[in-house]
């Protein structure tokens, strides 16, 4: 039952069955990961751009830490967020543990360093090109950061996709802070983990295939949106 052809057929069957439970899981996965990536971009892109633009003592150390945090283990992030959001933790009163919001927080924490580090790399090259112009125009740091983010928007969308890839694929953080609760916090990866632990490897693989398809679909959507925007709204 775990040969590629039957896995593919099973996956297709699941997708076309219109199973509301599956669609709920897919929708939650997208909602959690897309929101987390959007939050990460709001924080990470200006942060990355600032590190590309502003020089200050200790900048090298900050960049090194950021680069190291790109590989932050999801399970560690999950554990930290769990301890923060636990009823016995500092933010326990908010009652966020085992909710999609907790999963969004955990994934945003996981993805922000990645987005900031990649954005810094990509914008540092751009900044090298613009540096003299910016200084000739006597731009302040904020204007420089805004201009870099806007002018680098197409390469930054790839950065955001890298973040999305990390978010949608991770299981370690969401399973701890979400609890893999059916209909509430079960996403694709935790569902796969559950089916694996039930020994239903075929179903787990089929879900995995759907997850990959989902990631591909989001990538294609963003990249073609990109191309359309490049063509139509170049302003």
């Amino acid at each position: 039952m775990t040969d590629p052809a039957s896995i593919f057929l099973l996956a297709m069957g699941l997708v076309t069955s219109g199973n509301p439970e599956l669609y709920g899981i897919i929708w939650l996965s997208l909602r959690v990961s897309l929101t987390a990536v959007a939050i990460s971009c709001l924080i990470g892109l200006p942060l990355g751009a600032a590190l590309a633009v502003v020089t200050f003592p200790g900048r090298g150390a900050v960049i090194a830490v950021l680069n190291a945090f790109m590989g932050l283990p999801p399970v560690v992030v999950g554990l930290v967020v769990y301890l923060l959001l636990s009823r016995s933790g500092p933010f326990g009163v908010l009652g966020l543990l085992y909710t999609p919001t907790a999963m969004i927080i955990a994934q945003a924490l996981l993805v922000t360093p990645l987005i900031a580090a990649l954005a810094r790399q990509s914008l540092a090259d751009l900044h090298l090109e613009y540096d003299e112009l910016f200084r000739s125009l006597r731009l302040g740091a904020t204007d420089k950061i805004a201009a870099l983010i806007w002018d680098g928007r197409y390469s930054l969308s790839t950065v955001a996709l890298a973040g999305f890839g990390r978010a949608i694929a991770e299981v370690g953080a969401v399973i701890i802070v979400g609890g893999n609760i059916e209909h509430v916090t079960r996403v694709m990866t935790t569902a796969i983990a559950l089916e694996t632990s039930k020994g239903d490897l075929a179903l787990a693989l089929a879900l995995g295939l759907i997850l990959v398809g989902l990631a591909v679909a989001v990538n294609v959507a963003v990249l073609s949106l990109n191309r359309a925007a490049k063509r139509l709204a170049y302003a």
Binding site: A38, I39, S86, R87, S88, V184, T196, G199, L201
Partner: protein
């Protein structure tokens, strides 16, 4: 700037959707074990409870040790686990209100068809464990402080086997849930101790089969406790107690009894009687 505003709108929409999703029915969080979740028991009984009371039970399935720790921290309203001693300590420490027995099933020792330790058909779990150790046949342990893990250690002790010393050799501590451990056992043709519920619903058996069952020592009792609202005031005591009352009452017990996989009953309710039936 158009892209920015589209992105901002999308973000707001997503964020709103996230908050809207959990402002609905009353719900409680049940800290429970992988064995009950993986077997499919909750999927069978919880909709019945919800239909009756409108209360949504959100199950977090971890090992017994983890479930009790999470409960002690207040990250749950009700705990349903299966290690009597640890449960009694949980109540004694003031984290739980009262321990009530709900149901039982039993553990089984599963092993490869080839049965290198020659234990198949035995009814003496401790002797079988000793034989496995003597043969240095691979054994996959949960190793995660779960109820099943504790039950397994309770079999090694009287057998006089020091599994710590054998760890990494023939004794493989997987540090994972029941299903994962069975996957490992199936992959390396190892023996393992499993609860019958998970075993029956487990699909990736490979060459594994039950080799030992029916020993009184393999009895597996589940207990339920309300997390103490005196310790954690946010605990939904009313809804939590409603769930417990239902579970140990006639309706809940019947629901448990009616859960079957391929005609086989996985859990045996014993709340009303409190009787300690022999397993098997």
């Amino acid at each position: 700037m158009r892209l920015t505003s589209i992105a901002a709108t999308a973000l707001v929409a997503l964020a709103t959707a996230s908050t809207a999703a959990h402002a609905q029915d009353p719900f409680i969080i049940l800290q429970s074990t992988t064995s009950t979740e993986n077997s499919g028991l909750f999927k069978h009984i919880l909709p019945i409870f919800k239909a009756k009371t409108g209360i949504d039970v959100r199950v977090v399935a971890v090992g017994t040790g983890q479930a009790l720790k999470n409960g002690a921290k207040g990250d749950g309203d009700v705990v349903l686990v299966h290690t009597k001693a640890a449960e009694e300590k949980f109540v004694a420490d003031g984290f739980g209100v009262k321990r009530i027995e709900v149901m039982y099933n039993d553990y089984v020792i599963v092993g490869p068809d080839s049965d290198p330790a020659k234990v198949a058909g035995s009814k003496d779990a401790v002797a079988a464990m000793k034989k496995i150790a003597d043969a240095k046949a691979p054994f996959a342990s949960r190793g995660d402080d779960s109820g099943t893990h504790k039950a397994e250690l309770d079999l090694w002790a009287p057998a006089g086997v020091d599994v710590k010393a054998a760890s990494g050799d023939w004794y493989r501590s997987t540090g994972s849930g029941m299903g994962q451990t069975l996957n490992t056992a199936s992959g390396m043709n190892a023996y393992a101790l499993a609860d019958r519920g998970t075993w029956i619903s487990f699909k990736n058996r490979g060459s594994l089969k039950i080799v030992v069952e029916g020993d009184a020592k393999l009895f597996n009792q589940y207990g339920v406790m309300l997390v103490n609202p005196a310790k954690h005031p946010h605990v939904k005591a009313k809804e939590g107690q409603a769930f417990i009352d239902w579970l140990v009452g006639a309706d809940g017990q019947n629901a448990v009894r009616s859960f079957k996989i391929e005609g086989e009953q996985l859990f045996f309710p014993n709340a009303a009687t409190g009787e300690l039936k022999k397993a098997g």
